[in-house]
Structure formats: structure tokens, C-alpha cells
Symmetry: D2
Subunit: 166 residues, 4 copies
């Protein structure tokens, strides 16, 4: 199986962008989430998931990182495990990234079908990504479908709904 | 604050139904989720949420129950708590209800705004409700907006995506 | 496989009690968690778990309930599922039970080994049960081991650790 | 508030070790979890938690890392957030660390009292740490108490309890 997504990259727009990403950024995002699958700890499901976060150049970083990866981590008590998207975001938040830092999200599995984030991850993502951030959902061949955070979690329950803590 | 939703019930269709519910069913669903807020255990957020599930008449029941209620249950370790929708569904699944049992879902909070299920609950709901099931999202006055499960969690990661357990 | 735990009941103390329970209460607790396994929704793990809660006679009840059952409910996104103990407690909290309501907890699986609650459930239990509440952990034959909540979660992070919400 | 834990370091044993750590390792572990509190995203609880993982020198690393930090990350939907210990472990697992990699765990909050991991984190830790791994639980002044993973989660439900996936 090839993990090179190049052949499936859609035609860029007039500015040379695909959903706001340059071809180089898109290749980085895709390759990173496809490769991150190898880092998964999933002895219970045998279902590997990889995720990647593309960081805006202007965001705070503790390194010259422009992409951050994650993979699913399961637990003998299934509800205690976590997903690839949340693992990646956990690392990113710890590096100081917050709302406004993320330019795009990538997700990949070993399925023929395009795989989307679970609802719990959509909620976790929502805390740190605006509705316009694109999520690139790959199949095992590196092809992808794109929906934005706002499309994946319409009428979301986000931070602005909670009464402020005094 | 009135919790009587009657005044805000939209005009029924030609069959006398609102999103497939009779006016009596809708009143029961709305009143149940609004009242269920009083059962919440939420000392940390002080944010009460109530939920209700309308059961199809033909579904298995251990009683003559036609509606099942839930409320949020918080924990000193925030991630360990649970939401109103999952509490209600937990009780329902324990009574033997499964995919096909649920006719509608109601959610209510103390906010002026209409409140939707969080992403984690959308995922939990998705396991047991088809995309067509309507979710009635109330404000504190008992008015509501409606989106279906499929609209709340588009391109969902559901049971059909997992390789079967042999 | 017999689910009758009678033969394995330990010798009661001078007051006729086993960890504070009468033989009748113990039989009810054991039978309930063993039977509750049949209610589990666990297509992903095929690992059925049942739980039961013995309620103090003086506790608020919406019915003449003295035992409340639960079972595990899994999800295609494993972390979104929930355990038997939390399902049972969810139903109980919704009935108005709180700290002081619970006399004992029972857990049962299909294993030869004695099964204990996962750490997440111990934390959930801790919110509503004092350290002295006994947890009866059964094997598939109905035999059990007993540890208290305080023994299962020593030096716990409970409600008293959080600064009060103003 | 001083975050220098030096003054509170207990007398080492005959080998110059404290719970198996050299004084330098202990200082690194303590300082790291105390400092990691500053990375927390906790707008809902205002309760900052930091965690640190001391890595065995022989463990696989993508860098010369010997300590990995984490902090709590909350969510508007409280159950969707995560804790400091799991954030740190997520980063570590993604770097290839597994059972056998971890020499010690540190946790710190802003409380006067010594703070222990919640039950959910104990379960997450259990998947990757043997019973003998020490957990250094700090107060805000950098003093600590130590319990092992096995002491924090006795009779745990770990990987060895699950039927193997074929
Ligand atoms: Zn997920
Ligand atoms: Zn929810
Ligand atoms: Zn559990
Ligand atoms: Zn925790």
C-alpha cells in the first residue's frame, strides 16, 4: 500500500491552494497522518488511526514544528482510551497552541472508506478550532474528503455557551 | 420561568404531526426533558441539563414507559462525569431498547439559547439512533429547534465502520 | 454455568451479616449483578459486565426499588462507551440517590477471575459512596472478593478537593 | 510561592536513591510537573494540574528526552476534557514509549494538599506502567507523597484480564 497521497491531490484553486493549503502543506498534512498510524497502540480493536495538525506559521511553538501528529491509544477499559485527534491536540495544546493556531486537521485509518473523527473528538477539536478549519479525512490510499469543523459539528456546544467562571 | 412548552409548539403538518410526533408526544417529550433538569448533579458547573427519549410503542419495555429521562452527573474529576443524553440512553439500553426503539430525543438547559448535545453525546446517540431521528433542542422557556441525528453528526463514524468481531 | 451464588456465601459474622449485609441482601446484590450481564451491549469486546447497587432502605426512591442494575454499553468509538457500574449509578442518581444512599456495590463478568471496577468507575463511584462501602467483585460462578471503595481508590481525588463554586 | 522542591526532598537510601530515583532525577521530575501547571487549559475549573514522566535511559526516544510533561485540557463539555497525566502519557506513547519505559510519575496542583491522580488516569497509567512505578504527588510547595501504581489501583483491571484479540 502506498502512503503517497500525491496522486489524489485535487486541482488547486486560482491561488494555488486546496482548502486554503498550499500543495506542500497538504502533502505534509496527508503524509503525517498516514504515517502516524504506525504509532497507534490499539491491541483491542486492531484499528489504527493517525491524525495530524497543520500549525499556522505565526503560532507559538517550542520548536520549528509546523505539523503535530497523533494516534489512538486504547485501554483495557475501553472508555479510558483516547483517539488520534485528541492525542495530537493534547501535544499541541501543551506546546502553547490555542484557538487560531490550527490551519488544518488530517485523519487517516486503514479503511477503504473515508474516516471521519468521532463525535467526542469533534467536540474536543471545537474548543480549539474555528468552524472554518478544514478536516481532511483520508482513506488508506491517501485519498481524502474534506469537511470543515463547523460542518462536522453543526450548532455546536462550545465555550461561548457556558456562563463565565468568576 | 414557565416550563410549559405549549405556547411554542409549531404548527403541525397535514397529518397533525410535528417532525413525526403527535402533539401529545411532543408535549410529553418537551415536558420530560425540561423537568429532568431538576435531577441533575452538577455542583461544579451549576449548569443543569435534562434529556428525554420518546420510545416507539412497539419497542421492548420492562414497563409501560413511553418516555425515559436523564440529567447530567458531574464528577470532581471533570472528564469522569457524564451528560444528560447519555444518562437517559443508559437507562433505556438497560431496559432493552436498541436501534429502532427511539422516536425522538429532547434536550433542555437553563439557557436562553437553544442547546445542542455535545459531540460525545452525538456519538453515543448515533450508536442507537438512525440518522432520521429528530432531536428537539430546547431553551429554558421550552421553545425548541430541531435537527436530526444525521444533521448533528454528518459523515459519522458508526458501528458499520468497524471490522466485525469474529 | 450456575449463576446461583448461594454456595459461595461466606460465613456471616455474629450479627448474621457479611460486610454489613444480611444474607438476603447479599443474595439480591449477587444475583442482580450476575443477571445484569445479559443486558450488556458489547459487540466490540464481547466482554459482558453486570453491576448492581444495594440501596439503603431510608434512601429516597421513586419506587420500592432496593437494588438497581447496570451493564456495559459500548460504542464504535471505544472511548465514548460506558461501564456497567456507571450505567447503574446513572440510573440511581436520576432516581434521587446521592452520597449515603448506597449500602453495597456488586460487579460480575464472564471471567473465571474476580473482576474489579476500572479506575474510571472507581472515580465515578467515589463521588457518591463513602470509603467504607463494600464492593463485591464476582467471578462467573458467583463467588466474590470484597474490597471497600476506600481500598479500591486510596488517597482519592474527591469532591472535597475542589475549591467551592461561588 | 516557591516551586523549588529541593528543600523537601527526603533523605535518600544507602544507594543515594529516593524510591529508586537519583536526587537529580527527582529534582527533574518535581520541577517538571510543577512547571507544567503553567501549560494547563482550564478555564472552567481554574484548577491547574501538571504532570511529568521520567523515562528510563534505555527506552526508545525520538529525542534525548528524559522527562515528558503534561497538563490538564478542559472542554466546554466537561467529560470531553482530559487530565495532565493522560496528556503527558499521550505524548510519550506517541514517541514510542510503552510498558517498561517509565521510571516515575509526578503530579502537581495549586493545592496545599497532596494531589493524587483521578481514577481514570490511574487506569490509563496502569496500561503502561507496572505496579512498582512510583507516583510522586506534590502539593503547591513542591513537597510530595509517594504511592506506587499498584498501591493507587489495587486489584486493577489491566490488559491481562481481556481475552486476546485473534
Ligand atoms: Zn475520536
Ligand atoms: Zn454530552
Ligand atoms: Zn469502568
Ligand atoms: Zn485524571
Amino acid at each position: 500500500m502506498s502512503t503517497d497521497p500525491t496522486s489524489s491531490i485535487p486541482r488547486p484553486d486560482a491561488n494555488g491552494l486546496v482548502h486554503g493549503l498550499t500543495i506542500e502543506e497538504l502533502k505534509l498534512l496527508s503524509t503525517s497522518c498516514l504515517e502516524a498510524r504506525a504509532l497507534a497502540y490499539c491491541p483491542y480493536s486492531l484499528f489504527r488511526v493517525g491524525a495530524s495538525l497543520l500549525i499556522h506559521a505565526s503560532s507559538p511553538t517550542t520548536a520549528s514544528t509546523t505539523v503535530i501528529s497523533g494516534a489512538n491509544i486504547e485501554n483495557a477499559s475501553y472508555p479510558v482510551g483516547t483517539c488520534a485527534e485528541r492525542t495530537a491536540l493534547g501535544t499541541a495544546i501543551l506546546q502553547g497552541h490555542r484557538l487560531g493556531s490550527f490551519k488544518a486537521i488530517g485523519v487517516a485509518t486503514d479503511m477503504d472508506d473515508f474516516c471521519s473523527p468521532c463525535g467526542m473528538c469533534r467536540q474536543f477539536i471545537r474548543e480549539f478550532c474555528g468552524n472554518e478549519v478544514p478536516v481532511f479525512m483520508h482513506n488508506k490510499s491517501g485519498e481524502f474528503r474534506v469537511l470543515t469543523v463547523g460542518e462536522l459539528l453543526p450548532m455546536s456546544f462550545g465555550p461561548e455557551k457556558l456562563p463565565p467562571r468568576e
